[in-house]
C-alpha cells in the first residue's frame, strides 16, 4: 500500500473562507449537473420533444400557427418537464434521509439550510433549459409559413416559471416528509388540479393553477381580444416559487428574520397576485369583442390585389395570400361578364360560446350592415383558422372555398337562416366543384368534413355555413376526378345555365361532362330541396 506522505498543509488547498457562499455555489453546481442528468428529467424532456416532433412532422398540424395561441399551448407541454423536474428534485431532497447519510453530513461544514439552498439553486439550470426549449419551439413555429400574430414573452416564460415552482415545491416537500411516496402523490394532486382547471376553461379561478387552459376548440381571436393576464400570472408563479423556496430554507433550519419576512411578503404577494389574476374579464373587453364581432371593419386593414380586396385584422393580414390562392383558383373558371367588378373577403371572428354544446349563430345581418358602411358589400366571410393539419384548419379552408364559390355562383353573399344557407341543384354541384379544385388541399378539406358529418345535409364553413345535399356532393366529387381544365372550360361556356336556380344537379353534371343516367328528378323524398 502506498504510504501517505505527511501532506504539507500547502499541498492541500484550504477550503474556502467561511461566509462567502462559495460552498453553496459549488454544491449547487454539482446538484444541478446531477439534476440535468437524472433519468426522470431527461425522460420528461425527451417526451416533450417527441411530442413536438410528432405534432409537427407526423401529424403535420403546425402549419399556419397563430403565435399568440401557440405560446400558451406550449405551456401545457412544458408541464411534462415540470413533472420530471419535480420527481428528480424530490428524490435528491430526500436522498440524505433515504440513504441514511443525514447524521453523517451533520458533522460537515455546510449546514442543512445551505444544502437546501444549493438544491434550490440547482433548479435554475433546469428552468433555463426549459426557457431555451420554449424559445426554440416558438421560433420554429414562427418560421412556419402562414404564421400569424406574435407570441407574448410572459406566456412563454410561464413554462420555465412552472418548472421553478415544481422544483422549489419538491425541495420543500422533501424537507417536510422523508417518504418517497409523497413525491408521486403530490405530483398526481398537482396534475389533478391542472386537469380540473382544464375542465372549466371559462372560470376565472383556474388562474390559481400553474397554467390556465383555454377552450382549444375555438378558433383564434386577435390578440387584443384575449383575456390572458399573462404578466400577472407570471408574477404569481414567481412569487409562489419564492414562497416555496423561503419556506424550504426555514424548514431546513435557517433562522434569519429576513427570510421569515421574505416568506411573509411572498405569501402575501401570492395571495394578491392570485386574486388580481383571477378577476373576470373587464367589461370593456366584452364590449370590444362584441364590436369586433358585429362590426369588424373598424379594426381591420384591407389590401387590394387585382379585383379582390382582402380585409383582415392586422395580425392575420399576411394570410390573404392563402385566401387569394383559393379565390383565384375559383375565379379562373368564371367568365368575365359574370364577375362582379369587386369581390371582398373579410375576416370575421366567431362568437365565444361558454357552454360546450351551445351553437351561436353568426350575426350575418350585422355583418351585412357593417360591410355596407365600409363600402364592401357582399363580402365573403373567412375565419381566423386556416390550414390542413387539424380539423379546425381543414374546416376553415374548405369552408372559405365553399363560401367564396357560393358567392360567385349565386351572386349573393351568405344569408342567415337554414333555408337561405341551403344550396340546391346545379348551383350546389358547381359550387362544390369550384371549391374542390380551387387550390391543392381544398378537396381534402371538403372530404375531411364529409367524413365527420352525418345525415343527408352537410354544412361547410366555420364562420358562415353553406349546406348541400349528399347526392350533390357525390356528383361534385365525381367531377373532381375529371381533368379540371376540361370541366372548367365547360363551366365557363355554360355558366348561365349552370348558375340558374332551376337547373337540376343531374343536368349540371351532364353539362360539365359527367355521364349521369336519366333519373326522375334527382330529389329523394327526404330532400330539403323542393323543386321550385
Amino acid at each position: 500500500m502506498s504510504t501517505i506522505q505527511q501532506p504539507e498543509r500547502a499541498r492541500t488547498a484550504p477550503p474556502a473562507p467561511p461566509g462567502t457562499g462559495a460552498g453553496v455555489r459549488a454544491l449547487a453546481l454539482t446538484e444541478g449537473r446531477r439534476l440535468l442528468r437524472h433519468p426522470a428529467f431527461l425522460g420528461s424532456l425527451l417526451l416533450c420533444v417527441a411530442l413536438w416532433v410528432y405534432e409537427s412532422v407526423v401529424a403535420g398540424s403546425s402549419g399556419f400557427p397563430v403565435l399568440h395561441d401557440e405560446d400558451r399551448l406550449v405551456q401545457s407541454q412544458l408541464l411534462l418537464i415540470a413533472a420530471g423536474t419535480f420527481l428528480a428534485v424530490h428524490l435528491a431532497a430526500i436522498r440524505p434521509a433515504r440513504d441514511g447519510t443525514e447524521g453523517w453530513f451533520l458533522s460537515l461544514v455546510l449546514l442543512p439550510w445551505q444544502r437546501a439552498a444549493a438544491l434550490l439553486l440547482a433548479v435554475l439550470p433546469a428552468a433555463l433549459l426549459t426557457a431555451v426549449l420554449a424559445g426554440a419551439r416558438i421560433g420554429w413555429l414562427a418560421a412556419q409559413p402562414g404564421a400569424a400574430g406574435s407570441p407574448s414573452p410572459a406566456e412563454l416564460a410561464a413554462g420555465p416559471a412552472a418548472v421553478l415552482v415544481a422544483g422549489t415545491l419538491a425541495v420543500l416537500l422533501g424537507l417536510i416528509t422523508r417518504s418517497v411516496a409523497a413525491g408521486p402523490i403530490a405530483l398526481a394532486c398537482l396534475a389533478i388540479v391542472t386537469v380540473v382547471g382544464a375542465l372549466f376553461p371559462f372560470e376565472s379561478w383556474r388562474w390559481w393553477g400553474l397554467i390556465a387552459v383555454e377552450d382549444e376548440l375555438h378558433a383564434a381571436l386577435p390578440s387584443g381580444l384575449l383575456h390572458r393576464p399573462a404578466g400577472q400570472h407570471l408574477l404569481y408563479l414567481l412569487l409562489l416559487a419564492l414562497a416555496c423556496a423561503t419556506a424550504a430554507l426555514l424548514r431546513a433550519g435557517l433562522k434569519a428574520a429576513s427570510v421569515r419576512v421574505l416568506l411573509a411578503v411572498s405569501l402575501a404577494g401570492v395571495a394578491v397576485a392570485g386574486v388580481l389574476n383571477a378577476r373576470p374579464a373587464p367589461d370593456s373587453l366584452a364590449a370590444a369583442r362584441q364590436r369586433a364581432l358585429d362590426a369588424p371593419s373598424e379594426g381591420q386593414t384591407c389590401v387590394k390585389e387585382g379585383e379582390l380586396t382582402y380585409c383582415a385584422f392586422p395580425e392575420f393580414l399576411d394570410r390573404h395570400k392563402e385566401w387569394a390562392r383559393v379565390s383565384e383558383g375559383i375565379l379562373r373558371w368564371v367568365p368575365g361578364d359574370a364577375r362582379d367588378p369587386r369581390y371582398t373577403v373579410r375576416q370575421h371572428i366567431t362568437p365565444v360560446s361558454e357552454s360546450s354544446l351551445g351553437q351561436t349563430t353568426a350575426p350575418i345581418d350585422a355583418w351585412a350592415e357593417d360591410d355596407r358602411k365600409a363600402g364592401t358589400s357582399g363580402a365573403v366571410a373567412v375565419g381566423t383558422a386556416w390550414g390542413d393539419g387539424s380539423d379546425l384548419g381543414r374546416d376553415a379552408t374548405g369552408g372559405f372555398a365553399t363560401a367564396f364559390a357560393a358567392r360567385v355562383v349565386t351572386g349573393e353573399p351568405a344569408r342567415s337562416g337554414p333555408q337561405d344557407a341551403l344550396l340546391c341543384g346545379g348551383r350546389s354541384v358547381l359550387t362544390l366543384w369550384l371549391a374542390g379544385q380551387a387550390a391543392p388541399g381544398t378537396a381534402e378539406a371538403l372530404r375531411s368534413r364529409i367524413d365527420r358529418s352525418f345525415g343527408g345535409l352537410i354544412g361547410f364553413g366555420t364562420v358562415t355555413t353553406v349546406e348541400t345535399e349528399q347526392s350533390d356532393i357525390d356528383l361534385a366529387f365525381r367531377l373532381l376526378n375529371l381533368p379540371a381544365a376540361d370541366v372548367g372550360a365547360k363551366a365557363k361556356a355554360h355558366w348561365a345555365e349552370l348558375t340558374a336556380k332551376d337547373t337540376s344537379s343531374a343536368e349540371a353534371a351532364r353539362l360539365l361532362g359527367l355521364d349521369v343516367p336519366e333519373q326522375p328528378d334527382g330529389y329523394g323524398k327526404d330532400s330539403m330541396c323542393s323543386p321550385r
Binding site: 501532506p7 454539482t30 440524505p96 453523517w104 458533522s107 461544514v109
Partner: protein, 316 residues
Amino acid sequence: MNPETTTEAAPVPSAAAGEAMVQVTGLTVRYRRTVALDGVTLSLGTGVTGLLGPNGAGKTTLLRALATVLVPSDGSLSVFGRDPLEPRSRQEIRRRLGYLPQAPGFHRHFTAFEFVDYVAILKEHTDRAARHEEVRRVLDAVGLSEVRGKKLKALSGGMRQRVALASALIGDPELLILDEPTVGLDPEQRLRFRELVAELGEGRTVLLSTHQTEDVSALCHRVVVLAAGRVRYDGSARGLGELADGRVWFSPEREPRAVAGWRTGTGLFRNIGAPPPGAQTADATLEDGYLLLNSAAESGMWPEPEAGTRPEGGTR
C-alpha cells in the same frame, strides 16, 4: 479480586503540555429517560486513543458529541480550544475535523469518486481542481484508486467502508473520530488500515472506537473504557492488558468461579478470574483485561485503587 490500574510514567500521550486537542469535562447526555453519558471527563492529545466498551456504553454518543453533531445535556466540551456550542466556533471545528460514523449511509448511485467529491464540497472545498486532487489523494490513501469510477452499489461492504474512511480524511483533519471503522474489513484490509491510522496518528489526534481489541492493542497507546456511560479505565493499553496478568487459565470443564469463561474450539474452557492453584495459566491479552474490568464493574466490585494510583474518570 483486586485488579490494579496503573498509570505508567512511560509515555501515555494524553493532555501533553497543556495543549489538549480535546477537553471533555463532566459531559452528560440524556435521551428522555436514559442517561447515555454520565459525567465523562477526559482529554485527548496527539496520538491514537482507543475507545472500548460494550454495546450501549455510550461510545457512539461520546463520539457524536465530539464530532459536534450532538448537543450534550450537561458538562462542557472544548475542541481545539473552542466551544462547539457556539455556531461560528462549531463551523471552525468542523473544518478541522474528520468523522466516520458507525454504519455510514451511502448514496448508492454515486460513484466512489463522486461520493467523496460530494463530501469534499460539503466541507467547502470549492476549488474544483484542488478538490479533485484531494479526492484522488484520499482514495489512493485507502487503496481504492482503481475503483474510483465504480458505483457504490457495485462495491463490496469493505470497499464502501474504505470510501467512508476516505471521506473522513478529506482536508487532512487534525482530529479524526472513527466509530467502528474496521467493520466489514478482512484481515488484510485491517492491516492496511492499522498502518494508515498509525501514520495519521503522528501529529494528529485520532479517537478510534472499536470492538476489536486486537486493533486497540496494535494501534493505541492509550485506551479509554466506557461502560454504562462512565469511564471505567483511562490509561495505557498495556496497563489494561496487565490487569489480567496471572488471572487467565484453562480448564477442562466450565468453571463457575470464573468471572468470564468460554469454550474454545479445542474443547478446553478459557477462564478469567482467580485461578485455582496448579491451573494451566495462559498469557493475558488486552481482551482478557477488558473482560475482567467489565465483569468486575458489572458485579459491583470496583477495583480498589492502590495507593498512588487512581482510575481516571467515574465517580464513586
